[in-house]
C-alpha cells in the first residue's frame, strides 16, 4: 500500500514541474525585485551601481508617487464605502425575490467574465463627451456635457465607476450564495416573533453574512492594489498623472523611461503597502467575524 505511494522519484517527478515554474515566476522575481530596487540599473546597459536607499527616498519624496498611492486609496475607499453597501443591498433584494432570481444572478455577474481592457474601451465610448451614453443621459436632466476622461476632477471618478460596474455583480453573487445558505428556520422563527423584513435583514441576515462581507472587503483591497489595466486603457494615467495608480507609475518609469531599478523600488513598495493594509485590516476588523456554524 504505502510502497506504491511512497516512491521518492515519482513524488519528485510529479511535483517538480509546478515547483520549477513557481520558483522561476514567483520566488526568483520577488528576490530580484528587491535586489534591483537598490540599484540604478536602466534595464539594458551592462553597468549598474548599488545606490542604497536612494530609490526609496526618491520615490517617497516624489509628489507624483504619493498621488498614485492616493489613487489606490480612492479605489479602496470607493469599494469599501460605496460598493460594499450596494453589494449587500442588491444581494438582499435578490435573495428576497423568487421570480427572475436566476436572470438577475446571470446578468449581474456577466461584466466580471469580460476583459477589463475591452470594458475600458466600452466605457471610454460611454464617457465620450459628444455622443457617449453618459452625457446623453445627463443631458436629459439639463446637465452640460462633461469631459469625463480629460478633466482632472472627473477622470478618477470615471475610472472608479467603471471598475465598480465591472466587479459589483461578482461580489453580489458571492454574498447572495452566503445569504441563501442561511437556514430558513432562523428567518421563520424571527418572523413568528413579529420581526419585520428590515429588522430580519439587520438583526439576522447581516450578522450571519459578515464573514463573507469581510472576504469581499479583502478581495476588493487586493483588487484595488493590483488595478492597472483599467487605468492604462482608459486614461494612461492622465490627464497629467491625475489617475496614476502605483502599478501604472511603476510601468511608466521602468519600461517607458528606462529606470528599471527605480521601477523595482515601486514594486517593492507596492508589496509593503499591500502587506501593511492587509495586516491592519486583519487585526482591526476581520477578527470580529469568526466562522459561523449553524
Amino acid at each position: 500500500m504505502n510502497k506504491a505511494l511512497r516512491n521518492p522519484i515519482t513524488y519528485a517527478l510529479f511535483l517538480l514541474p509546478a515547483l520549477i515554474l513557481f520558483v522561476m515566476f514567483f520566488i526568483y522575481p520577488t528576490i530580484t525585485a528587491v535586489y534591483y530596487s537598490f540599484t540604478n540599473w536602466d534595464g539594458v546597459s551592462s553597468t549598474m551601481k548599488f545606490i542604497g536607499f536612494k530609490n526609496y527616498t526618491k520615490a517617497l519624496g516624489d509628489e507624483a508617487f504619493w498621488k498614485s498611492v492616493l489613487n489606490n486609496g480612492y479605489f479602496i475607499f470607493f469599494s469599501c464605502f460605496i460598493q460594499v453597501p450596494l453589494i449587500i443591498l442588491f444581494s438582499l433584494l435578490i435573495a428576497n425575490v423568487k421570480k427572475l432570481r436566476g436572470f438577475y444572478k446571470t446578468a449581474v455577474f456577466m461584466p466580471s467574465v469580460m476583459s477589463t481592457a475591452v470594458i475600458g474601451i466600452l466605457w471610454s465610448f460611454i464617457y465620450q463627451p459628444e455622443i457617449g451614453l453618459m452625457n446623453q443621459v445627463l443631458g436629459i436632466f439639463g446637465i452640460d456635457p462633461i469631459y469625463w476622461l480629460s478633466e482632472q476632477k472627473y477622470a478618477m471618478w470615471a475610472i472608479l465607476i467603471t471598475n465598480a460596474w465591472q466587479w459589483t455583480g461578482f461580489y453580489v453573487v458571492m454574498v447572495l450564495a452566503a445569504i441563501l445558505a442561511i437556514p430558513k428556520d432562523l428567518e421563520e422563527a424571527a418572523s413568528i416573533d413579529g420581526a419585520t423584513g428590515v429588522q430580519r435583514a439587520f438583526k439576522i441576515t447581516l450578522p450571519l453574512i459578515m464573514p463573507i462581507v469581510s472576504v469581499v472587503i479583502m478581495l476588493s483591497i487586493a483588487g484595488a492594489m493590483k488595478a492597472a489595466d483599467i487605468v492604462l486603457v482608459m486614461t494612461k494615467g492622465g490627464p497629467a498623472g491625475s489617475t496614476d495608480v502605483m502599478a501604472t507609475y511603476m510601468i511608466r518609469y521602468a519600461i517607458t523611461n528606462f529606470k528599471y531599478g527605480f521601477g523595482n523600488t515601486i514594486a517593492v513598495l507596492i508589496f509593503i503597502f499591500t502587506a501593511i493594509i492587509t495586516l491592519v485590516y486583519q487585526l482591526v476588523l476581520a477578527r470580529r467575524s469568526e466562522r459561523i456554524e449553524y
Binding site: 514541474p17 509546478a18 513557481f22 514567483f26 456577466m110 466600452l122
Partner: protein, 276 residues
Amino acid sequence: MMRNWKSSINHIILLAYMLVILYPFLFVIFSSLKADNVTIASNPFGFPTEFYWDNYVNAWVNAKISTYFWNSLYIALLCAVVSIFIGAMASFAITRMRYAKLSLFFFGLITVGMLIPNNSLMLPIYLLIRKMGILNTHMALIVPYIANAIPFTVIILAAFMRSLPGEIEEAAVVDGLRAPGIFARVVLPLTVPALVTVFIINFLGNWNEYLLANYFLSEDALRTLPVGMVGFRDAYQTNYAQMSAGIVFSVVPVMVIYAVLQEQIIEGLTAGGVKG
C-alpha cells in the same frame, strides 16, 4: 397584498440595476449598426433605423480581429490545459502520496503565491523572459500564463483530491497499479468536475489578460485580442460605429462561453476569489 407590493419595490430597484448593467451592451450593439457618429449622436438610445452591417465587415478587416482572435484562443487554451495538467500532478503528489510533512511545506509555499500581487512582479518577469530569449514570441506569454495559474490551480485541485476517500487507492494498489497509474486511471477521472472549473477560470484569465500581452509582445501579428482591441481603438478613435462592432466581436465569444457554462464559471470564480 402587502407582500406583493413589497416584492414589486424589490423588482423595481433590481430592474434599475439591470438597466445599468445591460444598457451599455445594448448601446454598443445599437451603435455598431449605425452609419456614423452623427447618426449615433442624433439617436443615441434607440434602435437603429437602418441597419448598417458594413461596420462589422470593416472592423473585422481593419481590426484584424481574426488574427488576434486565433492568437488569443490558442494561447488561452494551451496554457489552461498545460497548467491544469502540471497543477493536477503536483496536487496528486501533495495530497495522495505519503510524504505528509514535505507536502505540507510545498503546499504552504505555493499558497504564498496567491498573496503576491502579481502585477508588481511584471518587471523581473520581463527580464527573465528576455534572458530566456523568448521576448516578442508567443512563448513570452505562454510560459508566464502557465506559471501564474499554478497557485490557484493547486489550491483548488488539492482541496478536491483531499476530499476523495482513501479506499480508492487501496483498491487500485491491490489491483497492482503504481503511483502514475493511480493518478491517471483513478484520481484524475474522479477530479474531472474540479478540472473543468479550474480549466474555465484559467482560460478566461488568459483570454482577458492585458498587461503582459501589452508589454511582452511588440509585433502586431502576435497580439492577443485585448491588446489588439486597444490598438484598434487608438487607431480608429473617431469612428465609433466601427469601434462598437469591434467590441461586439471581442465580447461575443466570452458571452457564448458564459451562456453555456454559467454555473461552473460562477462557482469557480467565486470559490477562488480570483479577479481579472
